[in-house]
């Protein structure tokens, strides 16, 4: 416990953990190869350590971290389900992991077939007509999707300027719209936590390019008026963008394509079990209806008889949003999962995810304020306002959960709920785990009454105690410096 050394602080001059074979070609004077003024004069200050130092250091760091494999992780909107181990094995097969992106297509037939087949799965699950795997994350998918909308509208000769986003939306939605050059129009949710068709009507006009919607939304509530909303947006010539962050709630039950959405992204690192990696790599494939397929990033994967190939011939494509074909190995993991579960298994996922969320909601709502008290989908949002009245903030509750070995829910989001606690248990958690979480939440609630100080001071058993974020931001130190040792 306490401070942990940085790898640089373990460095000893002259120690090595790495060796190459002797150079087996004639060595030339480097000055004849690289002009002297282009050469590096001082070595970068990288650590000099033995292999065992590296291993112990990073194993030590891993023990100061917490993942789904360590325990319950009900982080709302992040779908922290169990990540099957076989995914790790298949994505490390040499045929995938050691494949160069520019091999001739005849040497990439397995990879292309995988991309093609994965696309067929996603089409059936979502009701969309074409997919690209190029986007590397959800926000990147949003960017791709909105650019496709922009390209579509401009081809029609329309320069629309507005994108509508509900106030409950993820921050990436407005940030993406702005990045694509749109003005962001935020609309207030109604008292049921949903998009209010009347509010929507007020902002709909011929300048609206798109409405971005998450459904179920960030409160975990299904947008029941979606058909009407879709019609309203389409009637003014706008398109509907589906943020797939919450797709885990509806597989096999309903499909964005059938709700009226034109474009969507999927977070493979949420719904399709690929691990989050401590903040990436993710994968954010984008699906479109047929009328938008010509605008997808190049290349798309096609099939001709038994042969798979990359099609770069999309003259109206938005271009590329990243190099090569996306986070391919993440797609391999998701594909492994899709194959393992099949249609029935995927439907079971959504059923159990929604069952788990509703079970927790029902058991916790007596003790924590539930602003929208009705059937939820894969997640729900509590408010810590009763606890706040007793002087304990949601942040304190979250930090206290760490002491009980539970990763806290998402807190202070969505912004429209005061002291929000956004809870998404996912389908892979057993009833025992949920019951234990309920017990822990009730214990903490008792502590709010009996010993609030315990919460203010939490966490108590983590490798470090509560950290000073204000100090870090006022005086940013973003790298190690050798001068520290002096």
């Amino acid at each position: 416990m306490g401070s942990y050394p940085l790898i640089f602080e373990l460095s000893k001059e002259g120690r090595t953990g790495f060796e190459l074979p002797e150079l087996d070609v004639p060595a030339k004077d480097i000055n004849n190869l690289i002009p002297e003024e282009m050469q590096r004069k001082t070595e970068p200050d990288l650590p000099e350590v033995a292999e065992v130092d590296v291993v112990r250091h990073y194993i030590g760091l891993s023990r100061r971290n917490f993942g789904v494999d360590n325990g319950f992780y009900p982080l709302g909107s992040c779908t922290m389900k169990y990540n099957p181990k076989v995914n790790e094995d298949t994505s490390r097969l040499a045929g995938f992991a050691e494949l160069h992106p520019y091999v001739p297509e005849e040497l990439a037939q397995g990879a292309l077939e995988l991309l093609y087949d994965a696309e067929q799965y996603l089409k059936e699950i979502t009701g969309m007509d074409r997919f690209t795997f190029q986007p590397a994350a959800g926000a990147h998918g949003e960017f791709t999707g909105l650019m496709i909308i922009k390209a579509y509208l401009e081809k029609k000769g329309e320069k629309r300027t507005k994108v509508i986003v509900p106030d409950s939306a993820h921050g990436t939605n407005p940030a993406t719209a702005a990045m694509c050059g749109f003005d962001v129009i935020s609309i207030k949710s109604n008292d049921r936590g949903l998009v209010d068709p009347e509010e929507l009507a007020k902002v709909l006009d011929n300048d609206v390019a798109a409405l971005m919607l998450t459904n179920p939304n960030t409160l975990g509530l299904f947008e029941e008026e979606i058909v009407k909303i879709a019609k309203m947006v389409h009637d003014v010539g706008g398109l509907l963008y589906y943020d797939g962050a919450n797709l885990n709630a509806i597989m096999g039950v309903t499909r964005p394509g059938d709700m009226g959405f034109d474009v969507m992204h999927i977070n493979l690192h949420k719904t399709f079990s690929t691990p989050h990696g401590g903040g990436g790599p993710g994968s954010g494939p984008v699906g479109v209806k047929a009328h938008l397929a010509e605008f997808l990033p190049v290349p798309v994967v096609e099939k001709d008889g038994d042969r798979y190939y990359f099609n770069y011939n999309l003259p109206n494509s938005i271009g590329k949003v990243r190099t090569f074909y996306g986070n391919f190995l993440v797609v391999v993991k998701a594909y492994t999962y899709l194959k393992a579960l099949g249609g029935e298994g995927l439907t079971d996922v959504s059923q159990k995810a929604v069952l788990n969320a509703n079970y927790l909601r029902e058991k916790l709502k007596k003790y924590f304020y539930l602003p929208y008290d009705r059937l939820c989908k894969h997640e729900f949002v509590l408010s810590g306002k009763w606890q706040k009245e007793k002087g304990v903030r949601t942040l304190d509750i979250a930090k206290r959960l760490l002491d009980y070995g539970v990763h806290p829910p998402t807190i202070y989001f969505p912004l429209i709920v005061d002291e929000a606690l956004m809870i998404e248990p996912t389908e892979t958690e057993s009833k025992e785990t949920l019951d234990r979480f309920i017990e822990v939440m009730l214990t903490i609630n008792r502590e709010v009454e009996e010993n609030p100080e315990l919460l203010h001071e939490a966490p108590h058993v983590t490798p470090v105690k509560r950290l000073d974020e204000v100090g870090a931001a006022r005086n940013p130190i973003l790298r190690w410096s050798k001068d520290w040792q002096k």
Binding site: M38, G277, K465
Partner: protein, 444 residues
Amino acid sequence: MKYTPHTPDEVREMLSSLGLNTIDELFSDIPEEIKLKRPLNLPSGMSELEVKKHLANLAAKNGSADKYTVFLGAGVYDHYVPAVVNHILLRSEFYTAYTPYQAEMSQGVLQSIFEYQTMICELTGLDITNASMYDGGSALAEAALMAVNQTRRDKVLVLATVHPEYRSVVKTYTWGPEIEVVEVPYKNGIVDLEKLEELIDDKTAAVLVQHPNFFGQLEPVEEISRLIHAQKGLLVVAVDPISLGILKPPAEYGADIAVGDGQALGNGLSFGGPHLGFFAARKDLARRMPGRLVGLTTDKEGNRGFVLTLQAREQHIRREKATSNICSNQALNALAATVYLATVGKKGLKEIALQSLQKAHYTYERLIGEGYEPLFTGPFFKEFVVKVKDEEEITQKLLKHNILAGPGISRFYPELAPALMIAVTEKRTREEIDSLVEVLGGDR
């Protein structure tokens, strides 16, 4: 295969605690008209045994580096990845964690990112580095946006020698905000300095350079730096991190932002992803940085700790005014880069760079000896282009000998065809290089 643990009894019990009888009732808030009302039309699930076999069959159809000798480059390079990297990546405390929002429980990821930030600063000579971007191309595009915001100018110059896919990404990113992108032509494989000087004006936010460039050639970065800074624009350079074992750090020739693809740092070829983009800049640009930053702080007992910091730049707080929409990045790939750089260390990185340099030049000399003509004659690092009679024919011929080289230049620069790109890393042995030369030599 299912990963849900519920027994039928538990499902009944949980439903009844909700006053429900069937699972379907959980979805009663979804309008009937949009319900699927049929099972998903997908194949049945598979056992782990079957799924593994299926994936192994697909993998076996690919021509990967375990079967072929790789002289392919063009942005993704076959450098050696020490065994330790994968073993650390398999620690599931790392790979099954989310973005480190709860710092006290995420010190492992946070500290490793802090170490990563330090290492990239050391390589580039710049003051600050973010926690990673998606890849080199999107990092370059975000750098262009950042330069536009910083300078409040709306034109960006990009050298035609920058990786064609990077340029394509830059064009996509700059289209929305209506930034003008002008390509600067090349001459003998590097920037045409006269043209560059003509094109830079007081509306130019930045010039985007790749060094070594797509052809492997070294760009006259000092001269480019002088030209762009004379007009108060920014120098953005995309670099090969391995080259920085021997090439001058970008800060020393005046780069304001340095980006690049970190694939070569402990990440495999991966059919192009996931890799990572790195992104480093001058200190005064900190608040315009896209993406996550990890900062040092202390806990209430005075212990050192790490947190995500300067978050007010980011989408979850700033929403439409954020510096970027980026949320997830490539943290695990950045961890691979960190473990890689820790393992090879300062001497190892230099040795890897030197051996790549020497072996590439040995290959080059031998091919010239066989009568091949180089497309460009300037200094290069580990990649070069030679003229060939027929790109497709020679590629096929090499494949027959289990050698992958290329890509053919016609793919991106038809005006330069026919010619073949060749990349050589420290992994290639003299024997492998000699085989390449032998196959190519017979074609002359």
